[in-house]
Symmetry: C2
DNA sequence: GCGATCAGCGGCACG
DNA sequence: CGTGCCGTTGATCGC
């Protein structure tokens, strides 16, 4: 680990060159301007920011606020550092994209070695909701029998493919969050696809905590159904999902 | 600016408390475990990472690689720091979400003051493409007359609303990147809406650099059209867009 | 404030 | 590799 405050230019060049050569994690804090050109083109005038380079040679430029970086470069880029008069310029090239940060003053350089073998484990994604529904399909509807989860068809993937107690095919689209028009168009597409393939009655059910008004209207006009489902993280962790009784279901015939 | 290497626990507590109280930008590098609970729930076992807090009290936790943070909290959270035996625990609460990072060892603390008045200016968004089309509608089709840009209807916004040289209404959906099924469903929805309102012939045109096979098929089956358009950043900056001649247009009648 | 869409979206999983 | 879609998506703009 190495940390420098207000390093002279030569020392800064030396430390940065070494950090780049050794693929280290390092940060620079200082006054800079940043240019980017690739899928889009951006210019950031002079100001003080923190630039971060990680061991995979991904690069981010951070302003003093906003959690998201103001500029970035994806992992695997080719890094170089050079002098431009009294300034130090760091350039990153990657797949037709170029980002350069020209530092007119460097207040801090930190080079860090981080031992880390642990990866994030995260619960609460749509996949987890899907598993719960597979374990307890009656939460969607009594007598529902799942045939296949994440069934992939030409035009996407069906979250739950099932038959109801009448023997009808059922396509279920699950959403962790409030469903909008996009969710309904997805479901509609899947139902259409299955209907073309099977020439029998196919029901489409959207399961989500709630539905926007436009989505509700589109769903109704397409003869699709809505089942309110509360996928709160507590239920996920406890391994169950709760039906919200207060909200009306939409049932079409 | 303050920078500490391997600070004793008391000093670390003092510096962090002050940085929090004064809403400073600061980073901590050290061995920690991170827990998050909110919209989802995550656990990150012990390892060395960099934690970053910005002046807007947004928080990110960075592993040694991956440009995106492994954990984060949005701006405006309530921060606190406390001792847990020999460890230092930083907790962030925000809108029903809690993130805590328990540091068993701190290798570095940096508190930075960053003067920055300049904001990013970025060219190459869909809006820029839209402006070009407005200036040169003949790029889409000779004789096309734009009536309205970003025309907002109940169910979204139409990029370009126009009439062709025959007097037919035209709905144009622009995409900067390769268009997929979502782009076609969007266009289809807008065209349907306009047809319901006007009871006359309405054409739908998708303008994008390319089209996925499924999207092409859906477009054709809906009687919609495709115009290949190259929105490369060079053209944007030069203030013009180029039609790609090599790709075949899809024209339905 | 909700709703819909864009984003230099990024990332994953499946064909 | 492309295609589709989820994401603790975030950010913006319009109603």
């Amino acid at each position: 680990m190495e940390s420098l405050q207000n390093p002279p230019k030569d020392k800064a060049m030396e430390v940065l060159s070494k950090a780049i050569a050794e693929s280290r994690f390092f940060t620079i804090v200082g006054r800079c301007e940043v240019d980017y050109r690739g899928r889009a083109s951006s210019k950031l005038g002079e100001g003080e920011r923190m630039l971060m380079v990680k061991e995979d040679r991904s690069l981010t430029v951070h302003k003093k606020d906003r959690h998201a970086p103001v500029n970035y470069q994806r992992a695997g880029c080719e890094l170089s550092v050079s002098c431009e008069g009294e300034a130090i310029k760091l350039t990153s090239k990657n797949a037709g994209e170029v980002l350069s940060a020209r530092f007119s003053g460097i207040k801090f350089i930190g080079v860090f070695q981080m031992e880390d073998d642990e990866d994030l484990s995260l619960v609460g994604k749509e996949k987890d909701l899907s598993s719960l529904v597979q374990a307890e399909p009656h939460l969607i509807e009594p007598g529902l029998v799942p045939l296949e989860m994440e069934k992939s068809i030409r035009t996407g993937g069906i979250d739950v493919y099932a038959r109801d107690k009448e023997g009808n095919l059922v396509v279920v689209e699950l959403k962790r969050r409030a469903a909008g028009l996009d969710a309904v168009t997805q479901l509609k597409r899947y139902v259409g696809e299955i209907r073309r393939l099977h020439k029998e009655k196919v029901r489409g059910i959207l399961c989500a905590p709630s539905l926007t008004p436009n989505a509700r209207e589109m769903l109704a006009s397409e003869g699709l159904e809505f089942i309110p489902l509360d996928p709160s993280i507590e239920h996920m962790e406890q391994g169950r999902v709760k039906l919200i009784k207060s909200q009306k279901r939409i049932d079409q015939f």
